[in-house]
Subunit: 137 residues, 4 copies
């Protein structure tokens, strides 16, 4: 299952090179995770309320073509892998109008408790685990 989130590029997201600053893509990936969580009826704010956090352990991004102020970008997201304690997502950013691929990326996460210690999500919060794991084809 893939989920697509559309984002209107903000002026503040550009830099003096005239393109979106590279640090912004990680924020867009996160916004896509937020929408993905709503889609599968397990919103991330609900996870946090249940005491489950999802910090990153790694991030990668390839920048293929720039995004510009005024563009609408589409962020495709899907779960690549899920273990009882870890979580791996992949992303594709395209220009919504032209369909051109702008960037690809990935994030790896660990499920933790509020003290940011790893938890076995499958055992302790199977409803969260299954909501995400069931999206893998």
């Amino acid at each position: 299952m893939k989920r697509t989130t559309d984002i209107i590029v903000r002026y503040a997201e550009t830099d003096q090179m005239g393109i979106v600053h590279h640090s912004v893509y990680a924020i867009w990936f996160e916004a896509a995770r937020t929408e993905f969580g709503k889609e599968i009826r397990m919103p991330y704010d609900e996870c946090e309320k249940r005491g489950v956090l999802l910090p990153l352990i790694s991030l990668e991004c390839k920048f293929i073509k720039p995004a510009y102020y005024g563009d609408v970008v589409s962020i495709k997201i899907f779960v690549e892998k899920m273990t009882p304690v870890r979580f791996r997502l992949k992303y594709e950013v395209t220009n919504k109008n032209s369909g051109e691929l702008l960037a690809t990326g990935g994030t790896s996460h660990v499920w933790t408790n509020k003290e940011r210690r790893p938890v076995n999500l499958k055992k302790n919060h199977p409803e969260i685990f299954n909501a995400y794991a069931n999206t893998i084809e």
Copy 2:
């Protein structure tokens, strides 16, 4: 004429106080200006292409209630005043779900050329001037 832009609060927009960081409201105001420009068929990226920039000369914001991750906020925007060289906008931020007023703000701008020197917009770009001025009731 008022225009409302809805924004989904991003995780990156929160700080360790657990609320949206105050610097983010200026970015939301700007996102609302972007949508307002499209609404009146004079998008800001089009203004820049015609050589007209709109830097801020002042910003104010009152923070009434916090916004949280997961909220949808509505930004109402309207033009308060317009002279041939200056531009004044006001903003109201509400929680879309509860209708509660979260913040109010204002920005003052000067119309400039690409070298950021003030221009008489009414004289040099009447089509841009009128698009914005006509929204004042």
Copy 3:
């Protein structure tokens, strides 16, 4: 008492107008508050550890001249007013090299507990109150 914090302008702080984005000044003001707290031996992270937060209730900024990538800017900060529950600071941003005034600003805050309810700081945390109040000339 005034305290000056020097900041090297980051590339990510610029926008496609080629200048520092206006939302960044609020972040610089906050960085200046951090350094001010250390100077008076009452760092803000220490205040938070004691259960005292300092959310903003208002922000204003006037933008006089742009700041550019590569600039060093100096943020002067001083306490304008302090009551048992409220706190008002003012800021001046100058280009460190040329001495030119780039921006001025102000922030108003309320002292709160961890649940963000106002507290009488003078009564409940006189050591914090005095550290800040004693800087007013």
Copy 4:
């Protein structure tokens, strides 16, 4: 040759997890590149004035331990590889006080002209090429 840049963690850089948001590390890497350029007497703003830009083509980051508001972090940077058109840097982020490694990262760049088309830096701007290439041990 390694160069270390110290950065005081800003409050705005934290998120509601109580730690520095992962998107911030790319901004710190960039701040380290800025200081590195000054160190080798080829500041990046000077490169841009000569018509040479340095957009990213990829970014990776591993997050080992969190950084917190109030921390001073040290960013070590070094050039891993340089070809006539490409540039590869690596980074280590440590807590300055404890010496603990917080994150590692890498960025790949392409040297371009102002239209963001790749240029042969070695041929067209040997003084810039050599300034960076000479730092490789």
